[in-house]
């Protein structure tokens, strides 16, 4: 078995996972904007200001790795997902520039950019979920499969709201933090419903996935994944409940950590379901992989540069640790 394509699948998976958790929280903050007043909104924006550019770069790396390491899959995947991809990109553009413009605008202009920031965040999140839903089912036509994709779209919105709300618990204090705690609990309920629906529906829509999960005695080991997800969810519910009652904000990183853990676990389940396919039932990673000469030179670059990227990303999170303040540029 040739290992290089597996390594690149892992790298691509890592950058998609990092993208989902990192851009997920700032998309979530965008979707929560209508729930806050003007002062709170500027704190929320300040909490993601130093990070969102770099967060979005993980998506570029993900697509860059798909292009360069699995060029045969690119045509299949992106052409099948053409319209949701375009809609997602329009959403990402709107929110990205709205973020910058809203800081420089006043009055109804600012209201307009706030609205676009919300709408763009929502559109991008929803489309990412739809893409995921279409991807899991191997782009099968038919209304049932599309309905499934729409449910996944709604679930991903819930997941990002959860990430955004718990991020705000970490980065804010006082009234806004209390609001964020309440949002976290709503987000968690939304996610629980979504994950349950998707987990039940996925084996129904895909035989390949069903065979991988219902294969005793392996199934017993695999049940650790949903059990751990459930535990993370329960812990998140308890911690946010306790923080609301005590109005204390020590160890305020716990809700975000729990939310991130839910994402990592769900991602692991998904990765297990799909491996070794790039396009389920159609294209394995070995069939789709780029020429070995390209993979080798890519690997050299990734091995040298990725540690530096992780290092200075940590540095940036360290520099901007602590609570966000409204005056972003001061």
């Amino acid at each position: 078995m040739d290992l290089l394509p597996v390594v690149f699948m892992a790298l691509m998976g890592l950058s998609v996972l990092l993208y989902v958790v990192l851009d997920g929280y700032d998309l979530g903050v965008g979707m929560l904007m209508p729930g806050a007043d003007e002062r709170e909104q500027s704190v929320m924006v300040a909490s993601i200001g130093p990070f969102w550019d770099a967060n979005e770069t993980w998506l570029v790396l993900g697509i860059g790795l798909l292009l360069s390491a699995f060029p045969v899959a690119v045509g299949v995947v992106l052409q099948a997902l053409y319209l949701p991809v375009v809609a997602m990109l329009v959403g990402l553009m709107l929110r990205g520039v709205a973020f910058e413009f809203r800081m420089k605008a006043l009055g109804w202009h600012r209201e307009l950019w706030n609205w676009l920031f919300w709408a763009g965040s929502f559109l991008a999140s929803f489309c990412q979920g739809v893409m995921l839903g279409r991807y899991i089912t191997g782009f099968e036509p038919g209304p049932g499969y599309w309905l499934f994709a729409l449910v996944v779209g709604a679930s991903v919105c819930g997941g990002y709201v959860l990430l955004g709300a718990t991020w705000l618990v970490l980065k804010t204090e006082g009234e806004l933090q209390q609001k964020a705690l309440a949002w976290s609990r709503w987000g968690l309920l939304w996610v629980a419903l979504g994950v349950a629906l998707v987990s039940l529906a996925t084996p129904l829509v895909s035989e390949t996935v069903r065979d991988k999960w219902f294969d005793f005695p392996r199934t017993l080991w695999l049940m650790l994944l949903p059990a751990a997800t459930l535990a993370a969810g329960a812990w998140l519910w308890r911690v946010t409940g306790a923080m609301r009652r005590s109005r204390a904000s020590h160890r305020d990183w716990r809700p975000f950590a729990a939310a991130a853990a839910i994402f990592v676990l769900a991602f692991a389940g998904l990765a297990y379901s799909l491996f070794p396919y790039v396009v389920i039932d159609r294209l394995t990673i070995w069939e789709a992989a780029a020429h070995p000469s390209a993979l080798k030179v890519l690997l050299v670059g990734a091995v040298i540069v990725l540690p530096f990227i992780l290092l200075y990303t940590l540095l940036s999170y360290r520099i901007f640790r602590g609570k966000a303040r409204a005056g972003l540029y001061d």
Binding site: D37, L67, S68, V74, G75, L78, L298, T313, A326
Partner: protein, 454 residues
């Protein structure tokens, strides 16, 4: 299929034309920022600090426009040209990935530190972050131009296992047109940023003649432009000679030379007539074409008839080239005159400020015109002599392409208008120097934190 090819090209062309505006500005503007930051460190003059803060905001806005349109472009490689990746992906893929790994993360991460970290990190780290943003933008130009140049002058590749792969990466990267194209583009970025800095500062001075920071930045912009433009003219000429050697049909098209001849004229103006393969209404200087292109008045210059059917369309190249060169000459005139008029800190006369303000985005127009010349000039090839554009297009239907094209155009138009309005508005208000945390600035920047200004 024809429709789909046309729509795919239009969409990609509009996207890349929109995208290139912003990197062209930010690559060099990042170095300007480093200069402003270092000037503040050395002088501790609050005017430099206010200037730095104002221009970081211009930078952040432009960078965001570049990032979001760049994300779209990375997807369009796959959606519009899937067979590009399956035939030359083993060369293009790694170059794109190296750009992302070495440049994108660097600039995006340290941009956050540069913008928001001034009070959180020591001065040396803040200056280092500003420098790393500049290094990142320039590195990104390095990789993407290596790939683009390879598509014009491909070398170092062999055909193996049904696709093109790199035989020698250094040969691929440092292909014949790369040094010229990279230098030409980096200087173009320098000129674009210099004229934006000059123009927006002049715009501020028209409204507030005493603004000290705007005076400083305007003088800096004019001087940088005045130094760069003669270098650019020489580099552009060298780049043209390099193109004559490797892609002579592009030169024939941009000079509108239909027939091979000795002592070719220089066509100053004409309406190229593609059907009848001749120029209407042309004004020519005899022998000057050979003199400029081959530095010999009697040299033979190949006309379009020497290349059969594989020739690019003439009109966009002919006019694009003249627009670029015309703006270059105007830049030379304006920047040198501007330097002379503002020597020894003399205040610029109002009419000159209006000229500067009018030239604010001249670099964009010249850059776009230049890119149209070089990219349209490569047609019908996507990778010269290796892959035809028509063979790289995907199976997306014309209807889907039309729908997405409409969506993109509307989004880009709205973004561009908003960008220009906000930029001129910000520049018009100026850096409010001497009082960087004044009431007005706090309200504007800190969001709803402070009450609205009356």
């Amino acid at each position: 299929m024809e429709d789909a090819l046309f729509l795919a090209r239009t969409q990609f062309g509009i996207n890349i034309g929109f995208h290139i505006l912003f990197p062209t500005l930010t690559i060099a503007l990042a170095w300007f920022l480093l200069g402003f930051r270092v000037m503040y460190e050395r002088t501790r003059d609050p005017a430099w600090l206010a200037t730095f803060k104002l221009w970081t905001k211009v930078f952040a806005l432009s960078f965001a426009m570049g990032v979001v349109s760049g994300v779209v472009m990375s997807f369009q490689f796959g959606t519009n040209w899937p067979r590009y990746m399956t035939t030359v992906g083993a060369i293009a893929g790694p170059l794109l990935a190296y750009e992302i790994l070495t440049a994108f993360f660097l600039e995006a991460t340290f941009l956050g530190v540069m913008l928001f970290g001034m009070n959180r990190v020591p001065d040396w780290l803040h200056i280092a972050a500003t420098a790393l943003v500049a290094v990142g933008t320039t590195l990104s130009a390095f990789w993407i131009l290596a790939l683009n140049s390879w598509m014009h002058t491909p070398v170092g590749h062999i055909f193996q296992d049904g696709q093109w792969i790199a035989q020698d990466w250094l040969t691929v990267i440092f292909n014949p047109s790369f040094p010229f194209r990279l230098t030409h583009m980096l200087i173009a970025s320098g000129l674009t940023a210099a004229f934006v800095v000059t123009g927006l500062s002049a715009w501020r001075l028209l409204r507030a003649p005493g603004d000290e920071g705007a005076g400083k930045t305007m003088r800096a912009g004019v001087r940088v432009a005045a130094v760069l433009i003669p270098i650019q003219i020489v580099v552009g000429d060298l780049h043209g000679l390099n193109t004559l050697e490797h892609q002579p049909q592009k030169i024939a098209a941009l000079e509108a030379l239909w027939h091979t001849e000795r002592g070719a004229p220089l066509v100053l103006f004409a309406i190229p007539n593609e059907e009848r393969k001749r120029n209407d209404w042309s004004i020519e200087i005899p022998y000057a074409g050979s003199l400029i292109l081959a530095h010999d008045a009697n040299a033979e210059i190949k006309g379009l008839d020497a290349f059969g059917a594989d020739i690019p369309p003439v009109k966009p190249l002919f006019f694009g080239f003249r627009v670029m060169v015309g703006i270059g000459m105007l830049m030379l005139l304006v920047s040198w005159w501007g330097w002379w008029a503002t020597r020894r800190r003399a205040p610029a006369p109002r009419w000159l400020l209006w000229v500067f303000a009018g030239m604010t985005f001249s670099g964009w127009i010249a850059t776009l015109a230049g890119w149209i010349v070089t990219e349209v000039g490569r047609q019908p090839w996507l990778v010269h002599g290796v892959l035809r554009t028509a063979d790289a297009v995907g199976d997306v239907s014309a209807a889907k392409l039309g729908a997405s094209l409409t969506g993109y155009i509307l989004t880009y138009a709205a973004m561009l208008i908003a960008y220009l309005v906000v930029l001129t508005h910000m520049a018009g208000k100026g850096a409010s120097n001497h009082a960087p945390s004044s009431h007005a600035a706090t309200v504007e920047l800190a969001g709803g934190a402070a009450p609205k200004a009356g």
